[in-house]
Symmetry: C4
Subunit: 266 residues, 4 copies
Amino acid sequence: MRAIEKVQEIRDARWFSNLTTIIIIAYASILGFKTLDEVENQYDLFLRIADYFVTIYFVFELAIKMVAEKRFLNFFKSGWNLFDFIIVAVTLLPLESSNLAAIARLMRVFRILRLFTARPELKAIIDMLIRAIPSIIDIVILMFIIFYIYAIIGSFFFMNLPSGLWENFLVSMLTLFRVLTFEDWTDVMYEAMEVYPWAWVYFVSFVIIAAFVFFNLFVAVIIGEMQKLQEADMKEEIHEDHQKLDIILKEVQSLRDEIKQLKDEK
Amino acid sequence: MRAIEKVQEIRDARWFSNLTTIIIIAYASILGFKTLDEVENQYDLFLRIADYFVTIYFVFELAIKMVAEKRFLNFFKSGWNLFDFIIVAVTLLPLESSNLAAIARLMRVFRILRLFTARPELKAIIDMLIRAIPSIIDIVILMFIIFYIYAIIGSFFFMNLPSGLWENFLVSMLTLFRVLTFEDWTDVMYEAMEVYPWAWVYFVSFVIIAAFVFFNLFVAVIIGEMQKLQEADMKEEIHEDHQKLDIILKEVQSLRDEIKQLKDEK
Amino acid sequence: MRAIEKVQEIRDARWFSNLTTIIIIAYASILGFKTLDEVENQYDLFLRIADYFVTIYFVFELAIKMVAEKRFLNFFKSGWNLFDFIIVAVTLLPLESSNLAAIARLMRVFRILRLFTARPELKAIIDMLIRAIPSIIDIVILMFIIFYIYAIIGSFFFMNLPSGLWENFLVSMLTLFRVLTFEDWTDVMYEAMEVYPWAWVYFVSFVIIAAFVFFNLFVAVIIGEMQKLQEADMKEEIHEDHQKLDIILKEVQSLRDEIKQLKDEK
Amino acid sequence: MRAIEKVQEIRDARWFSNLTTIIIIAYASILGFKTLDEVENQYDLFLRIADYFVTIYFVFELAIKMVAEKRFLNFFKSGWNLFDFIIVAVTLLPLESSNLAAIARLMRVFRILRLFTARPELKAIIDMLIRAIPSIIDIVILMFIIFYIYAIIGSFFFMNLPSGLWENFLVSMLTLFRVLTFEDWTDVMYEAMEVYPWAWVYFVSFVIIAAFVFFNLFVAVIIGEMQKLQEADMKEEIHEDHQKLDIILKEVQSLRDEIKQLKDEK
């Protein structure tokens, strides 16, 4: 029992989460520089050692978190713990010498995602984004309808253009996404206008509608969500004030009644 | 009478609108993949069946909505019902074998617009956009004036440039719209600067004015509209508080008068 | 005296300003289509007549506004009247046959600016923009400092690049403005990186700083200004409530004093 | 003692700071035009004189600020004074004839930064930006994680593409930054899609996630910070009102108690 409390103390200590953060960032930097060709040859041994060390540290850290739980299975009840466990487990698989070695090495990149577990502020932003989804979902559906109609019309009329940008529905969707980002959209338009001179109506209307609906509504919803969070306390106070005023009004009125009684008694 | 109530129940049931939503989305996906060449050849029969099924379902659904009304003509009083009716009716026209077959097939795309009838949240966004129009209309007029003046000046000076981007008023408008989206606007400018070295004044001023007025005012108006909606209840409370304070003030003052009377009477 | 009142009635009538608006827009459309080559040849006479008619109408309208004033010179005291007068006067100058004929024709474009005089909503937006200037001026100065430093450094290091995009201070400013709009900025960067491999620091830092400071602060200030206007009444109410609460507090406290006196007297 | 007061008066005078502002801007303009080749040859003597004059003026201004302090070392306690001192001192170094002459000339550009010392409004904006950093830092970390993962995956799969845009981790980061600004991102995508047809998933997801998270959250945070500043006084009032209502409520309730006592006594 004593031992578990000691382990729990370590798990909840600030220095322990800071240490984890530093090790993740250091490891991520090393992994990044590993891709610079010249570096790889010179420091190869060093990189291998770093890799082993981080793997061992992660297993050790996970072990502490598991031991700290009174019941072993409680550990897996938290989504974030499960997330940690999977990331660590995957990089433990002995795939180095198999055909999957390259993929296995790539998986190690996702270790940086463990920063979310380390920094609560990042969790808060992710939570905010998740909470904003219901407000955004309808704009996304609206967006999909616009894309869908334009993609069908586009692939119907422009299908045989030499650039092949409209050769089927999916490619048309990709081309429209490109137009949405304004990336060389006039090249796409000018090519279509050579065959259909009125094609500018299609493109200009798409830019206005999609950029209007998508961009501005999107921004408005996100800003609205952020402000809801920030002004939550102010709104709370205003709402309480509203109720307090009702109480005061009642109090004053009953006061008046009593004064009246006083007067009448006389 | 009993039969009508039964039909109305079906019409208003959540499962009925969900079923319609799923069928619309499924059909839209099928229609999208129809444009992928290889798919069309293999699944052609399947696609035809899906088409017949959806047409029949839509007629059936419309019939339910019509029968559910006590008076048949009431059905057409709702704008959304009329909208539904037209979309269904157009795809019922026997144009398959005529010259308009291609157009008729294209019209079916607009069946996805029936999602608006199915999901009330989408109607709400459309309503919000419609309500925002009066606030936006003046910015659009302002924008048109800026475009107009620049288009006339542009087609006056740059009319004979080899690219033909300024050959008449309408083409100049399109070119300015392109500059507004920053799409290869420097190519247009550098071409003009070869003939008129001061042409950068024209382009830079347009980018600053149009992007400034258009983009920022636009965004500000949209965000303002969204916030009006979201803060409507808070403003309502603040306004009510404002009036309640007046009542309380009066009450307290008349209280004081009465106390004074009490004292004077003594 | 009677005649002046009649003229004033006409000047202030809604139908008169609406008529002016319609004539301005119709004339602007005609002027726009005049630049379409084929049209010019066929309808040349019609266009000339429209031109004469609008000129006469404008003189007539201006005359009404002048006559409606009790003292002739009062007319010129309003900035908007002066603005109208100059636009009309310039197009009256007999420059058709002189060397300035082309310029004179161009000046007619600015007649569309008379829409500002006709629609008060447009005046309001312009006023808002003018009022927002003091808030923006410091961001513009900040922006200028950033542009200035980067332009000097850029023209110092990249002066001899073959594209000539940095050949002197002014051209460097233009190139940086282009980078600010993200227009082919990587082409400019890759060219510089061939000579100075670290040049990406220059470009990436400029994009982050200039787009960060310029765009976001700019948007924030504009949105802030718009909200100040929209929430002015709510803030006014909150401020009044604040003062009313003080009055109520005083009233209640003096009430209590008086009650105390009542008790003490007993 | 009298002399110091006189000097302090000069230092704090509005005309003195205005004079400094004008001299800085005039000098910055001259420095800008110095880079125009033709100008340099003709006005070379004039430019040299301006340079000497500004150097002397800056030393003079700094001397006044130093003398105005009662203790000489107090001058260096202010960060802005130190900032001024370094800028002036660097340009005083006799590097004209040495190998560092070019660098020395470049350093003079930073004299424009002394505008910050002259205009307090600019200091305020810089302060606001510095205060906004804590709110932004987590979004920047989030951004870094997204960039990091995409850069590793990108350089893993696309390393051997002929354009060399993914040849190592750092170059991949730069390429992703380019994609973030939408600058010819489809060219990068189409090149990758020739080898990996599914590469559009990588690019489209990056554009959606990075532009979504980065741009919108960023804007939301900046706008939120600006509004916090602007609405600080309103929130203060609402908070004070909240507390005043509590006081009033207590007062009214104790009033009622006393009235009750009055009644009971009878």
